[in-house]
Symmetry: none
Subunit: 191 residues, 4 copies
């Protein structure tokens, strides 16, 4: 019989790869990277342990893929504001969009906070997500400078930290955290 076409194989790879990444994201996020075994991911994704390694050559490589995948979201969001924030309205929108993004992908951001202080993953982390955050902060710095802030870099960093803290609270406490009210006040304080 004829072998599958290259396209068919690609399709298989793409789909299963996605499935594995989704599953891994979920498990890493819920159980923590270190505590998640490749076995458990395989099982949950209905893939044999061996086959997992046909897709990702190590646990670390799988994590990297998971992070890159999550980053794409972030990236899409960043596009919207990378051209600069030119008004209070735009600022407000940027902040709200940011949290929308977090709301719509809590799993990924839980992983983010899970990893942020894990030395084992820190390298990966700074390699993939770090650079993005920096650029992101620059946009806000510019906004604050235009507004006449005397120390826009610090303000941007404070804003960033605040958003980190709020996100962390929301991720950890779940629906008990009054995210929308918090966002309103946050905007009020920084706009």
């Amino acid at each position: 019989m004829a072998p599958r076409t290259a396209k068919q194989y690609e399709e298989i790879k793409r789909k299963k790869s996605s499935l594995i990444i989704d599953t891994a994201l979920l498990r890493f996020s819920e159980d923590g990277y270190k505590s998640t075994s490749m076995q458990s991911i395989a099982k949950e994704a209905n893939v044999s342990k061996g086959n997992l390694y046909n897709y990702f050559e190590s646990k670390e490589a799988l994590l990297e893929s998971v992070l890159r995948y999550g980053l794409d979201q972030f990236s899409a969001f960043y596009e919207q504001i990378s051209s600069g924030i030119s008004s209070e309205k735009k600022f407000e929108h940027a902040i709200r969009s940011n949290f929308d993004m977090i709301k719509s992908n809590k799993v990924f951001w839980k992983l983010y906070f899970n990893l942020i202080s894990q030395p084992s993953a820190q390298l990966l982390f700074t390699k993939i997500i770090g650079p993005f955050l920096e650029e992101y902060m620059k946009v806000f710095e510019t906004y604050f400078r235009k507004k006449g802030d005397k120390n826009p870099a610090v303000t941007a960093l404070l804003l960033g930290s605040t958003m980190d803290g709020v996100s962390l609270g929301y991720i950890m406490m779940g629906e008990m955290y009054p995210l929308d009210d918090i966002i309103d006040q946050l905007i009020e304080k920084f706009k």
Copy 2:
């Protein structure tokens, strides 16, 4: 030689216990809870592996002790403000004291952020530290209410989250993080 008195034994035990806790805190904090082996703690604390288990019946119990020990600090700090914050000056002082505490015990707070999203440790975590934080926030809520804030609970939560975010940034970035400037602005925004 005269046999040691019961008190002396007590003393020895207390000291060794302390030493183990200190060592564990350091290792958990630097390497992560999951990645730290009992072996490595024993070695660094100059205690035999078997003896470790005379002091703490399991790795988890050791972690619990480490957290309780760290909490004592927090507790001491909380005493200062538990009676209420009655002026802007007091508020500023409270905030600064809080960060002083963090500065003076970065190791513990690194562990705090390391654990906060580790499900394996989350139960422990909420059991020991959670209740404290809640009371802590209440004090700020009262302060904001007195100041006429329309939504003091939310403001207190935002403040708490901001402090979390700032602490996280400081812990992660180390001396690159302009903590003092950040604190100044934070106080300005919330006082």
Copy 3:
């Protein structure tokens, strides 16, 4: 297009089979039989893993083919002397030819020494190469007997062992081994 004739197919199969054997010989020789994966052979021979198994039904069968293929060389060489060695000149020529053969196919002889003490492959080994060696030694035995040697079987065996040892040295040490000088002395001692 006209369908290929049976002969053409035959030809293709033969060529690919040859290619696989060459590749396997190289890999087995360089990396060791146990340490060489079927995967790596497939990749280097530009053959799919599955297809490999259309040509050779197992790794062991592939090794067997590799050995048989190498033996053909040996066999051709043996032809030259199988009719007997009738003079010192012929003896010298036989020895030199033997080492020429080894020089011209170091890869195979490296594999030979790699396998000679691997139990996993020993059966195969003795099955395929053993019988040849025996006959080979007989020719020398006859030569030594004719020369009046009192213990020609032992001398032949000593010669064989010496040639093994020299080959081993040459294979292992590469160009640092003064093979030609060694051969001269060897001939001197045995002729």
Copy 4:
């Protein structure tokens, strides 16, 4: 209860360590290094897999210990002749001693030939045994030079190779190999 004394522990370590090395030597020798699993060594030595790693931190480290242990023998033998070979009688004795050593520890020398062409172990090999062999050859070189040999280095190398080949034959063929007769002839040819 009082803990075991340091001496007791040392004794345990020494004995078990020896047992493991002996077992590993046997298994490596019979089955080949690559094909021997740590599991199988543990089982045969009546040691748990985990405990194996209390004694040797990796399979490679275990191999290294096995080799060093075997080298001690070689070393003891080398002592005898390191001061130089001053007569044909001494030469003969040196050769015979060498083969006595091999006879009395066939298992080790089987491993030697097993490893000699395994790339995975080659580094280890050259690190531990290589330097010894070189010195060993020097002694013979000196002997041949004194005897007026025009190319003593080559002769020594040929002798070494011959001894390698003879040893290999003996190790591989076992009692079918007429070792004693071979040695007699070997001495005759080189003395």
